[in-house]
């Protein structure tokens, strides 16, 4: 036992010594969301910290911390792992620094496709892609002779059939928790219907139309096939529902597939859990889903030495072929050398089908916020779709006026 331990320790330190990027000074402090792929990514970058001071905060509340923490001078964090939505408030407030020089100097293994450039300046380096797509229970669909659904209309039909068969009472699940999650489902479905959130070239809302109504009606149909507590269910809650075998069709993040397909839980359910691309809706040809990237950004209010140390250690992970080979299950890595496995089907299908990225607009956060609270009453059957959309627009307009967008 002791021998194994020693060998293990040796291996651990052996690799970290090997990976040392020769960082001599500076301090690194990273703020990131909390899911397995990001933990792997940060751990990999830690191997290369050299003599720099290394700290990390993984939190699902990262969005709430980010802006205040990076506004401080010096900022609490030297790096923030962001996504296409969460980079926007950082850009709006001018809290992150351009990375061009650092990429030139230290970004050898980073591919050009990983660079997020805004107005010609590199603002972030992406390392993984994410989307929400369909999961299905192969055994249940097979038993009832249902084909794998390709559209949300088919999802509804399939769920109704499953319910009618008496196998499951609430066969569909998606993260409909009032607030951010519910708004995200609206965004997906609205884009699937070919909707544009704003009148072109302005910050005027553009959702109170036929596409918006169709979106809401589809969300309502799906919610009626979900557990009645759907308004309190986030991604974690529906994952639990799935693992207890209560659900046969589900829309969930690709980055969660790892935890669904691991060895924990009922092996029969795990075995029958299959992934497929996101569904389309309303006869549209682009999927009702948004593409997301996760990447790192560096805080502006932090000394250059810290930025350099942080960039070097994170760049080590963002170009690490060993990491993407070892953790191929955890995410769809955008890093060179990644060979997509069965758990990446969702994202790859989404890209193939021409899914759109989540809109990276300065005022999108306000729209997302307004959606999250104002469409609840429609789903509860307390108001009409038109009224709900009118409320969203009105709530958005007040907020956008206060923020100076209108």
């Amino acid at each position: 036992m002791r021998k194994i331990l020693v060998t293990l320790l040796f291996l651990l330190f052996g690799t970290s010594a090997f990976a040392d990027c020769n960082i001599k000074s500076g301090s690194i402090n990273i703020l990131a969301n909390d899911f397995p792929a990001l933990r792997t990514f940060v751990e990999t970058s830690k191997q290369c910290k050299g003599s720099a001071n290394f700290k990390v905060t993984h939190s699902s509340e990262h969005n709430k911390i980010a802006v205040p923490a990076l506004t401080a001078n010096p900022s609490e964090f030297s790096a923030r792992i962001a996504a296409n939505s969460s980079i926007v408030p950082l850009m709006n407030q001018d809290l992150i620094r351009p990375l061009d020089d650092l990429v030139k100097k230290y970004g050898k293994g980073i591919q050009d496709s990983q660079l997020i450039t805004i107005d010609g300046k590199v603002m972030a380096v992406a390392f993984m892609a994410n989307t929400q797509h369909l999961y299905y229970r192969e055994d249940v669909l097979k038993d009832l002779g249902i084909a794998i659904p390709k559209t949300y209309e088919e999802v509804v039909a399939a769920s109704e059939k499953i319910r009618a068969s008496g196998k499951m009472q609430y066969p569909y699940a998606a993260a409909y928790k009032a607030g951010w999650n519910l708004a995200e489902e609206f965004v997906n479905m609205f884009i699937g219907h070919g909707g544009e959130f704003f009148k072109s070239g302005s910050a005027q809302p553009n959702i109170n139309n036929a596409k918006g109504v169709a979106t809401l009606n589809m969300l309502k149909k799906l919610s009626e096939l979900s557990n009645p507590d759907y308004l309190t269910h986030d991604s974690e809650a529906i994952k639990v529902e799935w693992e207890s075998g209560n659900v046969a069709l589900m829309t969930l993040w690709a980055s969660r597939s790892g935890t669904l397909l691991d060895d924990e839980g009922d092996p029969n359910i795990t075995k029958a859990t299959k992934l497929t691309g996101p569904a389309t809706v309303g006869g549209g040809n682009i999927p009702a889903a948004t593409l997301w990237w996760d990447g790192f950004t560096l805080a502006k209010n932090r000394p250059d030495a810290d930025a350099e140390a942080t960039f070097r250690s994170l760049a080590h992970a963002a170009s690490n072929k060993k990491m993407v080979a070892d953790a191929a299950d955890q995410a769809v890595w955008l890093v060179e050398g990644f060979v997509p496995g069965p758990k990446s089907i969702g994202v790859i299908e989404a890209v193939k089908m021409g899914a759109k990225p989540y809109p990276m607009l300065p005022q999108m956060g306000l729209m997302h916020g307004a959606l999250g609270s104002e469409i609840v009453e429609f789903l509860q059957g307390k108001e009409s779709a038109e009224q709900a959309l009118k409320d969203v627009e009105a709530a958005y307009i007040s907020k956008a006026k206060e923020q100076g967008f209108l």
């Binding site: 709006n92 308004l231 300065p362």
Partner: protein, 342 residues
């Protein structure tokens, strides 16, 4: 106590209150009159792993210039107070002119976020406060009547709801009322309705939160009442017993008048606490069905990726005013009594 002694005695507390409560409130008040500067945006090319698009970003150079000149933002006066997400003055005028009957008008108004939150907050206060007083008093009376030996453990058990952290307390109940939890599943069986959910129905969510509120706050009322009951003089009670007064009459004519000032105190504190109801909404994930004024402030500060300081400040100020209005009758009464007593 002579006024001078009182002054020196109170000075440290007073200073701390000004520093940590007074000044922040003033700062919040000032902030509520300002909005963000008009955003200067420009069109740029954005590239990410999924391709390039032309879209807009905030022009940081221009924005920082404006911000440096006027760091507080754009003066907005009562603009934030009267906008649709707060008092919604224009909307209400419009509804008044457009709707045919009073019912429809009320429907429209209660659909506005501020009024929705205000109605929940007031409903919560109006149901929780009297029930807390009543329940606390009944528990205190009953505990006062049991044998001294078992009083200790009983008191401890009774104040447990107050010791349990509000979030934990609400989470426990949240899991119990889940459609697969012990209470939720049993109610479904009882009502024979598999789609019944305590969490998705607005009315049931309100009832749950109110019951939780009563459960959580009663111990406070109980503790204070119990302490007050110990000071009730025995002689008049014994005299009343001899005169043949029933238990109810004794409580009504001797005990209640004696502890009346304490009742006022508990009512005041309870009202203030209940007006700021917040934790149960988060604990029960009830944002969809129940929003309180405090929750609105929280929502403006953290739920958006963009922080709405002006909105949050305006709601805070209105919450303070709301508490003041709510407490006014009790305070005026206490003041009058104080004057007559002198």
């Amino acid at each position: 106590m002579p006024n001078k002694t009182f002054f020196w005695f109170f000075l440290p507390t007073g200073l701390a209150m000004i520093l940590f409560i007074g000044l922040p409130i003033i700062s919040t008040g000032i902030q509520s009159f300002y909005a963000q500067h008009d955003q200067v945006v420009k069109e740029v090319k954005k590239c990410d792993p999924f391709g390039c698009t032309v879209s807009i970003v905030v022009d940081n150079e221009e924005t920082s210039k404006i911000r440096e000149a006027k760091p507080l933002g754009k003066f907005n006066g009562f603009g934030t107070y009267t906008d649709r997400n707060h008092l919604a003055v224009d909307e209400i005028k419009k509804f008044w002119n457009e709707t045919e009957n009073f019912g429809a008008f009320v429907d429209q108004v209660t659909n506005l976020p501020f009024y929705k939150a205000l109605i929940f907050t007031l409903t919560y206060c109006l149901f929780v406060t009297p029930n807390v007083l009543l329940l606390g008093f009944i528990i205190a009376l009953s505990l006062n009547a049991v044998a001294r030996k078992i009083r200790g453990p009983l008191i401890f058990g009774t104040i447990l709801p107050m010791i349990v952290t509000p979030l934990v307390g609400s989470l426990v109940l949240f899991w119990m009322i889940d459609s697969q939890g012990i209470i939720g599943a049993n109610i479904q069986n009882l009502m024979n309705d598999p789609y019944l959910s305590l969490k998705s129905s607005k009315t049931l969510t309100w009832i749950t939160i109110i019951i939780y509120g009563i459960w959580h706050h009663s111990p406070f009322a109980f503790v204070v009442f119990y302490a007050a009951l110990q000071t009730v003089p025995q002689e008049p009670i014994e005299a009343a017993i001899i005169d043949g007064a029933s238990r109810f009459q004794r409580i009504k004519h001797i005990v209640l008048p004696h502890i009346y000032p304490v009742v006022t105190f508990v009512a005041l504190i309870s009202l203030m606490d209940n007006f700021r109801v917040f934790e149960p909404i988060i604990g029960f994930s009830a944002e969809g069905s129940a929003q309180s004024l405090s929750w609105l402030i929280y929502d403006n500060l953290v739920n958006e990726e963009v922080i709405l300081f002006g909105s949050a400040a305006a709601t805070s100020m209105m919450t303070i005013i709301g508490i003041a209005i709510l407490l006014a009758p009790v305070l005026i009464r206490t003041w009058k009594e104080f004057k007559t007593a002198r």
